[in-house]
Symmetry: C2
Subunit: 428 residues, 2 copies
């Protein structure tokens, strides 16, 4: 029996705007940042739970304040009570009636809950001596369904539906776990495609990507159609016909504009169009999906919660679902979203990059392969080669695939030296 | 030419949970609070701009932190530059690429923008020597359209559509302004209907509401169907057949549950069902609207932004649109939503109550009557008799109608004595 002693927060910012890494049509100068949380208990094991929200600079302090506001719901509580009933723990956070007013279930307060929930999962996985993906993959279907809050979902996914999906995947679990450990999970890379890069840099990085074994790259688009056509032509000429090329507009367009713009890029064989418009516009995405077919529409990294994902699936408004490790209410809500995707038969290709998003989200895709969808077909996890060196268990890419992590935890622990060095307050 | 000297914030909380004022099926014990902002310039006029976000307690400090994060975009700027181009000012806040990541356009950060935008409108109205509703009602259609950001909206409302609506309302403006000053804007009252009140208190307050001239009351429902049936029967017996009774479930239900529950209450002649389910569930509300017809569905107080309102209107998912003065990005975004409602021919019945929401939102409905929809038909502003005494220009109700305010400003200024007395930090 142990008690949670403290919930420590830090405001960590990397000055990435200097190099235009991460520049796109809507985010010209991001400073990749983390609103970070560290949960400490009085247990002898010395284990801590780490989590964070990824932001792009200004406002990271607001996100930290929101995480701090949750301390009262964690500090002084029994660690075991919280960790053994992670479904109930999630509900406690999300259904706090006063905090809920600040969303509900969206934006700063909801992401703060996600960070704390993820930190608790990190601690739970470390205590179990397993990487998060394996911890989740070894839970029973009944235990997994307990993690899910079905309020507002039963018109699309009932507890019975979820159980059926999870039970169907039980037989092959051990085999798929072995496959993951042998061959990893396929990745694609956005490294060549940032909008602020020169044509030469695009060609050099795209060439390297193919050499490194990636089967897909992604280009940022949406600022200028003529630039986009030139860059797509260059990229296609560089990688040849067999490598997939996705494009990402980062919410730049209206509906008619998205359809028109994509008609100009279609000749280059586009793997998907990502975030064509506002992430809140379900009906708009559905119209775009009809207008750009057969090019699939991909979105999700800015989608606020499971209720939005449910509707995008119901409306056939996306064909590629992109979960994000720190946008929604943490591991529990992402499991819910994986179940929704499985229910609708839609493939999941996570958003990653930023700070630590690769490290965190790989666990969810690997769990999905072992215990939910039971397939890697058509699925890739985004990879961006930034800032991995700051993490205790950085991702390992091997011939274009994420190697399955074997170190206990959720992948979310940043090195103490990095946390100190990039502490924003310290630099002010 | 003047400069903005400071953006002051305060965390103000009223201990309303002690009396169960404001209790409903999702919010059992709110402490009505305001994350408050005061903008000070170096002008000789001594005028200040005041604004706030209404919250229900915990997390009000997070909301204050978010408002503070906007100081850098305001302090040191030319007051006239900001106030004379309020459309551009709004875009600067909302399209700040780094802060936008924290939403986008939803939750804590978006509401913070709303508070600052509203404070600027308050200052602008005071400088003009007009109450906000009159200031807005005297702007030209072209000036009003400049306030609107049409990104993500043109599939439902183009600038030309908006101009057409506003121009059509120009001829009768003076007549309607005079009508407003003579007879005010109709209100309904939620005062009798809180879930925590006894049956006796319900009957007493409902009786008083009718005596005071209200034509509609509203009851909170959704916790227990038998209680709801008993309270609806009591309320209907008390007010008679000619007074409208709306019900409000505060997001309690799933879709099937909402339809089933309302089938049990329909016999009491329900004016509308408010917030039957998650405010994010457009498709769910559309299904509920079909299932409970002819009872209208009302929602909006928790809707994050204009893109959600657009879709609710496109999907016929609401029949009564409830704007809220402090949930979205302030006056500009609410003008946008009023134009969307006019475009779809849907009536607007604002959410109010809380802290200062009545004082603020009345200006928007009155502007709508004079210069947008040009009608009060079927429209009522919510009224709750709480905490008005803390405002410099408290609302005045007269035979069930809001009297049109004549004092300059947006109604959002709280008395300095109240701000001091209920300062949360001071009480910690």
């Amino acid at each position: 029996m142990s008690i949670i002693l403290a919930l420590h927060t830090s405001d960590i910012r990397f000055p990435t705007s200097a190099s235009l890494d991460g520049s796109d049509a809507m985010n010209p100068d991001p400073d990749y940042s983390a609103a970070y949380v560290r949960i400490v208990t009085d247990a002898d094991d010395g284990l801590e739970g780490h989590g964070f929200v990824f932001t792009i600079g200004r406002g990271n302090d607001v996100q930290v304040a929101a995480i701090k506001a949750l301390a009262g719901q964690v500090v002084g509580r029994s660690t075991e009570d919280l960790l053994e009933h992670m479904g109930a723990t999630w509900r406690e956070f999300v259904w706090d009636s006063q905090l809920r007013w600040l969303g509900p279930e969206k934006g700063v307060m909801h992401m703060a809950i996600g960070a704390v929930v993820n930190a608790l999962w990190d601690l739970k996985a470390k205590r179990a001596g397993l990487p998060l993906w394996q911890l989740l993959s070894r839970m029973t279907p009944e235990q997994l369904v307990e993690l899910v809050d079905f309020r507002y979902l039963t018109d699309a996914l009932s507890p019975e539906d979820a159980l059926q999906i999870l039970r169907a995947a039980v037989p092959g679990r051990a085999k798929r776990e072995a496959e993951l450990l042998a061959s990893g999970y396929p990745a694609y890379t956005t490294t060549p495609g940032w909008l602020g890069y020169s044509d030469d840099k695009l060609v050099r990085l795209a060439t390297e990507a193919v050499e490194e074994g990636f089967g897909m790259i992604k280009l940022k688009v949406g600022a200028n159609i003529n630039d986009d056509i030139r860059r797509m032509r260059l990229a296609r000429a560089t990688v040849g016909p067999d490598i997939l090329i996705g494009v990402d507009a980062n919410q730049r367009w209206g509906i008619a504009e998205a359809i028109e713009w994509m008609s100009r890029l279609a000749e280059f064989d586009v793997a998907w169009i990502e975030e064509p418009t506002s992430p809140d516009d379900i009906l708009g995405h559905a119209a775009i999906a009809r207008g750009v077919a057969p090019i699939p529409v991909a979105t999700g990294e800015h989608m606020a919660n499971r209720i939005m994902f449910k509707q995008f699936l119901q409306a056939d408004a996306l064909q590629v679902l992109q979960i994000d490790a720190t946008r929604v209410g943490g591991v529990n809500e992402n499991i819910t979203i994986l179940l929704l995707a499985a229910q609708f038969g839609v493939r999941v290709c996570p958003h990653a990059g930023g700070v630590g998003l690769c490290e965190a989200v790989q666990h969810l895709s690997m769990f999905d392969f072992v215990a939910v969808s039971a397939t890697r077909e058509g699925r890739v996890i985004e990879f961006v080669d930034h800032l991995h060196e700051h993490f205790l268990t950085p991702v390992v890419l091997d011939r274009g695939a994420y190697r399955a992590p074997t170190i206990p935890g959720a992948g979310t622990e940043m090195l103490a030296t990095s946390r100190d060095e990039y502490s924003f307050t310290a630099h002010e």
